[in-house]
Symmetry: C2
């Protein structure tokens, strides 16, 4: 992708700078099963996914809300590509601020899914 295009589309939606990301906000963002599911799918993919590619059992407006909470906490980066809103995990930012935390959280979520047979 073109860096200029990415920067331009990224400006459409407010994101916290890396230095403004707070642990409490990240944990709040991940304290919801739907948002945890989004983060797990983005982590598994490793790239960017459109909102519509992540199938959640909620209405579109609720889904939009969950993505916004994740974006405002600094967990995901969102940008428009044409009519699609694309989402990517801010792994580099999170790993820099909180080394090992994201992987621990993903492992804990995976383990819980197995435990609960989900």
């Amino acid at each position: 992708m073109s860096t200029a295009a990415s920067a331009a589309s990224s400006r459409d939606l407010p994101h916290p700078e890396r230095a403004d990301i707070r642990l409490e906000a990240v944990l709040h963002a991940l304290s919801d099963p739907m948002r945890l599911q989004i983060v797990r799918e983005l982590a598994a993919d490793g790239g960017e996914l459109s909102c519509s590619r992540i199938d959640l059992p909620v209405t579109k407006s609720t889904s939009t809300h969950h993505f916004r909470v994740l974006r405002e906490a600094g967990v995901v980066r969102q940008c428009y590509r044409g009519t699609a809103k694309m989402n990517g995990l801010r792994r580099e930012d999170l790993d820099d601020l909180f080394p090992g935390l994201l992987d621990s959280l993903l492992a804990a979520a995976a383990r819980q899914t197995v435990r609960l047979g989900g």
Copy 2:
């Protein structure tokens, strides 16, 4: 302490069984700065502390609320000893369910405190 006395006083307050502890609830419990502070102090102490030993810049009723959220999420165990309500981190339960997560969270919180000069 006597095991019988501990069991009796522990029954006064509802706690989730280990198998009923949910990652989302744990993350919600830790998504508040005051509750994160409580958990850090309990982890640093390694034993039990009375509510009054943990000095938070909030009213007593707010403090009581924060301890209750932590207890109901399965993060702390609370019991009465005479007139004191004692609190201990449920490290064994959390480490069993989510290996490494608590230490990652504590490290992330410590790192953020240093970063923000708090």
